[in-house]
Symmetry: C2
Amino acid sequence: MGAGAVRLGVAGFGNVGREFVRLLLERRGLLEERYGLRVGVSFVADSRGALCAAGGGVLEWGLVERALEAPRGGVSRLPGGRPGLGVEGALEECGTDVLVDATPSRYEDVEPALGWWLRVLGSGGAVVAADKAPLAVACDRLAVYIYSKPRLYYKATVMAGTPLIDLLRWGYAGRRVERVVGALNGTTNYLLTRAVEGASFGEALREAQERGYAEPDPSADLEGFDLAAKASIVSCTLGGWIPLGRVERRARVDGEAFERARRATAAGRRLRYVAVVEPAAGRAYVDLLEAEPGSVLYDIRGVENAVVVESAEAGPVMLRGPGAGARATAAALLSDLVEAASVMGVL
Amino acid sequence: MGAGAVRLGVAGFGNVGREFVRLLLERRGLLEERYGLRVGVSFVADSRGALCAAGGGVLEWGLVERALEAPRGGVSRLPGGRPGLGVEGALEECGTDVLVDATPSRYEDVEPALGWWLRVLGSGGAVVAADKAPLAVACDRLAVYIYSKPRLYYKATVMAGTPLIDLLRWGYAGRRVERVVGALNGTTNYLLTRAVEGASFGEALREAQERGYAEPDPSADLEGFDLAAKASIVSCTLGGWIPLGRVERRARVDGEAFERARRATAAGRRLRYVAVVEPAAGRAYVDLLEAEPGSVLYDIRGVENAVVVESAEAGPVMLRGPGAGARATAAALLSDLVEAASVMGVL
């Protein structure tokens, strides 16, 4: 990054990408006033093409606002748009200091996103990501950009509305974390809350889908795949990476889990679907756990998330707060942008 | 900081300074293995003098171990010791990349410590501090070293065993924090717990003193002075500093508060002595507050700390965990050391 405005390339222009750009428009005055940080958007890429600033410059803010009004897949039909130009091409042609990756997490096909990240990171830029896949699948290629060359920021990937990643990355640097236990999947947290309120599994799932808490295909949440990815990212952050494929998924959320949730509640506990990371043991897994009263894992309601961090040096730390709504995720990306600029000496 | 070992100057060699050095000895292998960070101690200064490495080098580790066995005020009587050499002199003569300030917080006489910090920060070094006074009294002179030139690290000053400062500093960068409410004083948290267990104010205070939770002169805790300093540091971190002298202390912990604590418990709530920071309103104060069930402020026990952070972008975030024992504070300093080295590009 040089003097002048920091140039952001925005990859992915669905709910999260749009909400990020909306928040950026709202806050760019604050960023300049409070941090002396001037930003501009060098490209916005969606699934069909990109809107790209010419000659290493940035897009007019009015054009960025118009992009927000474009239909899905429509940014490249605006003036100056480049139909068919992908993120790779945009990085090549439009000039970018910070890549904001708001594309969906594609665990099966991580290469394109990983390639974008490594390209930007390797050339001295920063990556700010909501996309979980590259870290969960290829932490070994990215870890150098967490502590040694801190250019990779990803607090939006886990517990987005609650800065867990900063707490772990900086707050526990140099410390010995023994165990992290987190109810980090909003969908299943919601379902298990509804279970003890008397809903059947099918009813609760339909409700969650209607409210936008669950995907039309909810299997990544119900089978623990999302939690496993988050466990892998947590282990990557703590310096003892467990690849996604090695995170054991010991339980799922289904009708049987609903029965178990009701039995746990009758016994004064609450059933939670959690990711567990034990860095020293080199182990991570996803399981159902009965939380006791007095724990944040017990207290959470609805889609809220919670985590307990146990370390060698002091008693347990408990963190509870919002997970990944579009606004919360956008705020996490914005915060990472300021963090990256601060750490990388641009402020 | 250059290549080779990072040279640490340790100012203050009481409980915290010693525990930090003990932890450093224990973890220096881990720092090198996990982060590639090599450290050495260039000086240790206590109230009567310093032990100082000659010619810009570092002390032999064996000598550092012997310093741990020296009586209070005795490091300068070890081989190579410099009786009468203060921290100012040690900074001048011994060569230091990172100043670890483990001296007591002296609000009435902040100039010496502030001068050490500014000297080190101004010459491109880092400060890692448990001393609260300079930030609470002179944030205006230090704030540039929080975001623009991030060289000042101070997670040991507030909720030391729990990384609140990292959560706020990085996790909320670029966000709008509306309110922070924290039960951040372990002594009064303990006293109010004992109040509802039936102890009288006098009994509880004696117990706290016997257990080392309260000072022989407990007024800084009971009158809200410690909480006010922490409120000021939180406001400094969030970019809307309220100087210590402008933090209103609306209540104290005394026999009357004990009565009120018992009434609150009878009504299903729990009385807490809290620091409140409202950055947008430019206001901070210390008060007694009745916490409701389901809040981390309600749940804490004994000396444990808790805080609730409200922001514009997402629901409340709750953090609960250990405060400032010697081991926890030392771990916070060690963690800050790694954080500083990472951010400043030494790893």
